[in-house]
Subunit: 154 residues, 2 copies
Amino acid sequence: MMLSKKTKYALKALHYLAEQPGDQPVLIADLARAENIPKKFLEFILLSLRKGGILQSRVGKGGGYSLAQPANRITIGAVINILEGNIAPVQCLDTTNQAHCEECLDEKTCGIRLVMTDVNIALSQVLNNLTLTDMVERAEAARNKQQNIVDFSI
Amino acid sequence: MMLSKKTKYALKALHYLAEQPGDQPVLIADLARAENIPKKFLEFILLSLRKGGILQSRVGKGGGYSLAQPANRITIGAVINILEGNIAPVQCLDTTNQAHCEECLDEKTCGIRLVMTDVNIALSQVLNNLTLTDMVERAEAARNKQQNIVDFSI
DNA sequence: ATCATATCTATTAAAAATATAGATATGACA
DNA sequence: TGTCATATCTATATTTTTAATAGATATGAT
């Protein structure tokens, strides 16, 4: 149930973009350097996110990538969906792609599917309600907390 | 967030074992045939489950595998934990193995970690409360339902 | 026209998941 | 005690997926 490196890179990049004042566009190269992500791999990730409607881009001087929607409208679930193809713990629960588990003889009576339905619901619940804003705010809060502790100890 | 084939095989095998009357031991070969799982791969899976305390085995004539605990005490979460190593969506949340995300500079302020904590809690909640019994019962209920529909149509 | 940028196509490399083979240990039973 | 049926172990091969790289092209600003 582990997030892929690709998805983590995506979340890091989005985090960075969400923190840009005035949604100023950022160059792939800068983003790659700032978040320590292989540039060519990041290119591909950003392109996916753009095609998924989460990012927008501009070519040429002054160009770069920026969020295509307000950060509080971009859910973590949407990001995972774009990069991993779906969120479901088993293919037969991936409704958006109408996928099926090859080895399964009868989906309707499959015990695995019947229990994983609960997992799927719980996951959707959480992931579709967490947004980039949550991520940014929580990180900031954590930094502040850490900062305060340091300040007091001086 | 997809279950591996290995874990699915494990759940299928456990399902089959849970349905044995009187917890009668089942041969690897029979289990492999019944659930259509590559035998050698299944051997490895069953061994893991035994080492994890979920199954017990006996060598020699009349031997085989059976559940080491009542089916309603074996959680789906425990099974996944044994086969995938953990349940957490990111390594740094895998407390049992005290793992960390290599690329992460500061875990405490990592936004990904902070949002994935919610996911982790939700997953644990569900997976540690679903048992083999749930799986078996739901499958049976689904079969009955299907059966009834057929009966009526005759 | 030039330069800075994203975009596309193709390929390679590395890692993980899945599957197989063969030898060995264990226990039941005659 | 010997034989057979079984799980167990060690090693390796195969396949699939993930991650990373390279080079050519399209686009837009100035």
